[in-house]
Amino acid sequence: MSEIEPTEQTQTKTDAGSAQPLQTTSGESEEQLHEEWIDYRFDGETKLAVETLDVHYGDDHALKDVSMEIPEKSVTALIGPSGCGKSTYLRCLNRMNDRIKSARVDGSVQLDGEEIYQDGVDLVELRKRVGMVFQSPNPFPKSIRENISYGPRKHGDIDTSLLARLSGRSDEEAEERLVKRSLKQAALWDEVNERLDDNALGLSGGQQQRLCIARALATDPEVLLMDEPASALDPIATSKIEELIHELSREYTVVIVTHNMQQAERISDQTAVFLTGGKLVEYGDTDQIFESPRSQRVEDYINGKFG
């Protein structure tokens, strides 16, 4: 069922740059002025299409009427002040919000044209395809090796159990290769290759962060959601991760939250700016957002005038 509705295809092919005010509900007139909805069009196929997404935590309206389409095989940066709903938005894309009891999600998110908020969606399948690196590192209390191979093992792609060894189809080598590749990609291999069997909780914060990146890569998702993946990293590790993200964007769709403007500018193809109150204020090519934002507030935010 990978067909994409024809209307959508034509929609994505329409020319970029035609700004349309879609949202006309905002309260104060000043805000209305600045928060013009930017209906951004890009080249290439849509991977994720988000439409009129609203998230409530209890009575708290955390995300308001967000619509955006994310192109495949590219890097999309989400920026915005703390508490504006970036993580919330990211969690909507692989339905991790389902875990939060008070959270209520309305609206639509389509992955390759298929609605992920319909009944009967297999969350396991969805999350295999849409991987996630969390804002704070959350390694499993297991060895480094087990952390990396956890996903593939559970998916049945790697099997090194006693039974598998007995029947001679143990994938120990494949596991070794996978662990090495993922750790190298996440720029962690050199630091931990001597102690793959140590508990991951013994790693430093930055190392844990990279371990979680490696863990997400090991399951080979189509979309990778990264919530501030470099927040605890030194400049060298950061640049390696940025390189990695750049590499990944040839094959994968990457959505990354960052508080670092330069980083967003360096690595992303398009940028979405959320501002306080859970609104998507502007979305467009990264160059355009950083050089000539349409909204005054976005410009202020980017230039560090408010946050």
């Binding site: 009891k101 969390f134 956890y150």
Partner: protein, 380 residues
Amino acid sequence: MSFITTLIKRGRSRLREVARRQGRRARDFVDETESEALAVVTVVALSLVAALVGFLLVSALTVVPLATFVVATVYGWFRHQEVTARVLTLTTTVSTLLILGLIIVFIFLESIPIVRYESATVFGVTVPGLRLFVETRWDAVSDPVRFSMVPMIHGTVMVTLIATAVAAPLGVSAALFLSEIAPAPVREVVKPGVEILAGIPSIVYGFIGFTILSPWASDQFRLNGQGTYLFVGIVVGLMALPTVVSVAEDALSSVPESIKSGSLAVGTTDWQTMTSITLPAAFSGVSAAVLLGVGRAIGETMAATVMLKGVPRLTDPLYNVFYGQETLTSIIARNYGDADGLQMDALFIAGVILFVTVLFISIGSQYIEWRMRRQFGGDV
């Protein structure tokens, strides 16, 4: 038990320092407190100690210091509330510890004669109480009078094993259900249900076991008479179940949500997350829960008393679960009435065995939980 040794070591190394600090604190306390308040506090403390001594000595005059204590406390409460409150709470703490101490002292003291009586000589060395554990004969009437604990230990072990086989898997599964699986409305029904299960008095379980289960089992298995370890074990297991459920549930829900979501986010089923992440991470807490359940099963009295035969002997063969003779708890409840002298002391030695075993289990489970808290650091 490293945490005990750590405790002891830390305690020993810091003992002097603590003593010095306490000394200083006591001096400060004396210096800072008004002399009248000090006097009141002293009267409170002294009269309480006197009352205690009087009570221990079974003196009818105990009431005098007790009255002094009450009067001094009431006076202190109105005049020097701050100090009195502090001393009163300290008093209550000391009393609590004292009760534990008294329990130990009294049940141990009462059991000394029987330990003497049941001494046995091995290789020329007299080992007090050895015969309690190497012979199997319990006979309080005909010569030679013997009070072996072996049959009762056997019974307690049988009952506890069966009970654990019931309570552990069902309890852990129910805990998983409550903490990870059940939708909120279902949990709101099941959780109080489990608590109520804990509240049903053991004598009611025993009564139903006695009137329904025992005759039924006797009929089904063509037994001579009534009372089987099998069904006592099952009933006791059901009684220990709520303990296992509630402690294990606490342990499971204290596993940080972040690693559970971390597992789900790589595309695993809820069940895989439970078995591969949550259960291993909560392993120590869950085993503490099972241990506590075992402790409850060992100490369960009334159901065993009314359902068992009450004849202290080993079953034949030893694994014959269809006959239920006597456990450490039931022998006490059954025989206290017509026991005196040595037999009564023998009941106390059964109490000592129970007390020590369960205390060790309790300390063991606390140790496990302590380790778990350390593992997760501040996360729990």
